[in-house]
């Protein structure tokens, strides 16, 4: 018998996901009607933060492992780009070409996350959060106090993406498309990977690790492998982040931003890889425009309140809210259609007094 339901059907992607096609087209034409500020500060930044949160979603949503060290991993990759490549502060800056620096930084970040995974996968729930938070805090203090390699409190400035094919990739338009390509690529990879053998086994481990051991799986090794893959995502986004900011310092890997990544993922929704991107857009919009509503110093109050409200009314985040609205609309449409059919067939709608 052919295994059908596990595999994609015959309908094309466009037929099955018209909304996704509309969003893709919108994202592609977005720079044609948005200002540079909206393309770069809102669009590209949302995509980068969304990608880092996607690495957390992959671990937490599919693997049941909430790691607070994803920003640390991204930051580590960013630091390596500044250390191995070029910077303007006169510390380190080994001047390696970008095609060596970038893969090295991403791979080293993935290995760091593998190490973090190896330490934390034997714990569960709140203990995983605490261990990864401790690692994030330790990294923050380490880079702040280490002047020889990480240039301490000042960090590095003057870190830029290369000029390639005659294009300055830090210009808003090319950088937006670069961020979109990276985010889209990882989103597709996570969606595809979720139905792969590894993805299915990761979800099964999340649901029932004991049973997976009894099926011959080395649960610990699988979890560590998930950390490696999520480290690749966070590391790549970290490279984009340092190019976006042009600089990196201990503040880039501080506790507040580490927690912001969790807030973004939870606000967006951890049940689907698109959730972190929704959360990132909401976060970046609030970060940029909350100043119009409230004093800049009070930004954390605004984001905290938004977080509380969303978690209170929709534990599945914005994605859950969206799902609830669409299912209500669908139910309403179905009820209308049913009533219309009954009327056409000469029957009275259920509960109608006319029929009595």
């Amino acid at each position: 018998m052919a295994a059908r339901s596990l595999f994609s059907g015959s309908a094309s992607f466009a037929e099955r996901h018209p909304a996704a096609i509309a969003v893709i087209v919108l994202l592609l034409v977005y720079p044609s009607f948005a200002s540079d500020f909206f393309v770069f500060q809102i669009g590209a930044y949302s995509l980068i933060l969304g990608t880092i949160s996607l690495s957390l979603m992959m671990l937490a949503g599919y693997g049941g492992m909430v790691s607070l060290a994803q920003m640390t991993v991204a930051g580590f990759a960013g630091y390596l780009v500044a250390i191995l490549g070029d910077n303007s502060v006169g510390v380190m800056g080994l001047g390696w070409p970008w095609w060596v620096t970038v893969p090295t930084a991403v791979l080293a970040a993935a290995l760091l996350n593998t190490f973090i995974g190896a330490i934390s996968v034997r714990t569960e729930g709140i203990y995983t959060i605490m261990i990864t938070l401790a690692i994030a805090v330790a990294f923050f203090y380490f880079v702040r106090q280490n002047y020889v390699i990480f240039n301490g409190f000042t960090g590095f400035a003057g870190v830029a993406p290369p000029v390639l094919f005659g294009v300055d990739w830090r210009d808003p338009l090319p950088f937006y498309y670069l961020s979109l390509a990276v985010a889209g690529g990882f989103l597709w990879a996570v969606l595809h990977g979720a139905r792969s053998t590894f993805g299915l086994s990761l979800q099964a481990i999340r649901d029932n690790p004991r049973r997976m051991r009894a099926l011959g799986y080395d649960v610990t090794l699988h979890r560590i492998a998930a950390y490696f893959l999520s480290g690749l995502i966070a590391g790549t986004a970290g490279v984009l982040l340092v190019w976006f900011n042009g600089r990196i310092s201990p503040g880039s890997v501080g506790v507040d931003i580490v927690i912001d990544i969790l807030v973004i993922a939870v606000v967006g929704g951890l049940r689907h890889p698109i959730g972190p991107f929704l959360g990132a857009i909401a976060f970046v919009l609030l970060e940029n425009f909350a100043i119009d509503l409230i004093d800049r110093e009070r930004f954390n109050t605004v984001i905290g309140t938004a977080f509380l409200l969303i978690v209170l009314f929709s534990p599945d985040g914005l994605l859950g809210l969206w799902n609830r609205i669409t299912s209500k609309v669908r139910l309403g449409r179905r009820a209308q259609l049913g009533a219309r059919n009954e009327k056409r067939d000469g029957r009275h709608p259920a509960g109608s007094l006319e029929g009595t």
């Binding site: 052919a2 792969s196 053998t197 590894f198 011959g216």
Partner: protein, 267 residues
């Protein structure tokens, strides 16, 4: 007429290599002695029932064999190899399987995905980032198992939506995945209707003869019909061993476990 399979079985049994050997196995939980000095051998292909009242140590015995709760003292050998120090997944890869008293399944996945993962768990490419295809050997095996446990109609259903009986059948399918040589069935008939129990007995009796199993079962009809030998546990110790007839007719067993009227034994 002997088949290559039975010949291989005879050779294996003839060498004196047991599927399972427990040597002075004990398991303590603090001051509580759940298992004490258990010595047990199970031949390759043998079908054994482990009976005993609640708290006799039956499930703990299974946990000690699989490594879920390694023995406090004693040795466990699987097919001649000492596996006492090995983790659960390594024992599984050596041909051991088990089911659980309460179904432990992956509720968020479909029936076929559950069985596919079980088939893949003891094979290669567990870390594959490719989606399984119909030509995948593990998927083909999963399809065969799906039919063997009569779950074809529920193939694409999410496990959470299955009836209790279907979930028990799926448990058995997971245990049969790969190339099992010894299966530990922990109360597979619990909560099943009479018709489902009959179906379970049929499935167990239809297992290839090279697959041995140990079954914990409170339903004596099921246990004595599918077992060749019976081991009685009492207070964490082996109390009696024998054929189903010997155990059934043993006055001490009747007194202790079956009750004077030989009611279906519940501990």
């Amino acid at each position: 007429m002997s088949t290559p399979r039975t010949d291989a079985l005879s050779r294996l049994q003839g060498t004196g290599r047991f599927a399972l050997e427990l040597e002075a196995v004990s398991r303590h939980f603090g001051a509580l002695v759940a298992l004490a000095d258990i010595n047990l051998t199970v031949q390759a292909g043998e079908r054994r029932a482990v009976l005993g009242s609640n708290g006799a140590g039956k499930t703990t015995l299974f946990n000690a064999i699989t490594g879920d709760f390694p023995p406090t003292t004693g040795r466990v050998r699987l097919f001649g190899e000492d596996v006492t120090e090995l983790p659960v997944h390594e024992r599984i890869r050596r041909g051991l399987r088990r089911t659980y008293q309460i179904s432990l399944l992956f509720d968020g996945l479909s029936v076929i995905e559950n069985i596919y993962l079980a088939c893949r768990g003891v094979g290669r490419r567990r870390f594959s980032l490719r989606r399984p295809t119909p030509s995948d050997s593990a998927m083909q095996l999963a399809e065969t198992l799906l039919e063997a446990v009569h779950l074809d109609a529920a193939r694409g259903l999410q496990v959470a939506t299955l009836s209790h009986g279907q979930q028990r059948q799926l448990e058995i399918a997971l245990a049969l995945a790969g190339a099992p040589r010894l299966i530990l069935f922990d109360e597979p008939a619990a909560g099943l209707s009479p018709a489902e129990r009959a179906e379970l007995v049929e499935i167990l009796q239809a297992l290839p003869e090279h697959i041995g199993y140990i079954i914990i079962e409170h339903d004596m009809d099921v246990a004595l019909r599918v077992a060749e030998r019976v081991t009685m546990l009492h207070n964490g110790r082996i109390f009696k061993e024998g054929t189903p007839e010997e155990i059934e007719n043993d006055p001490e067993v009747q007194e202790l476990y079956l009750g004077q009227g030989q009611e279906a034994g519940h501990g």
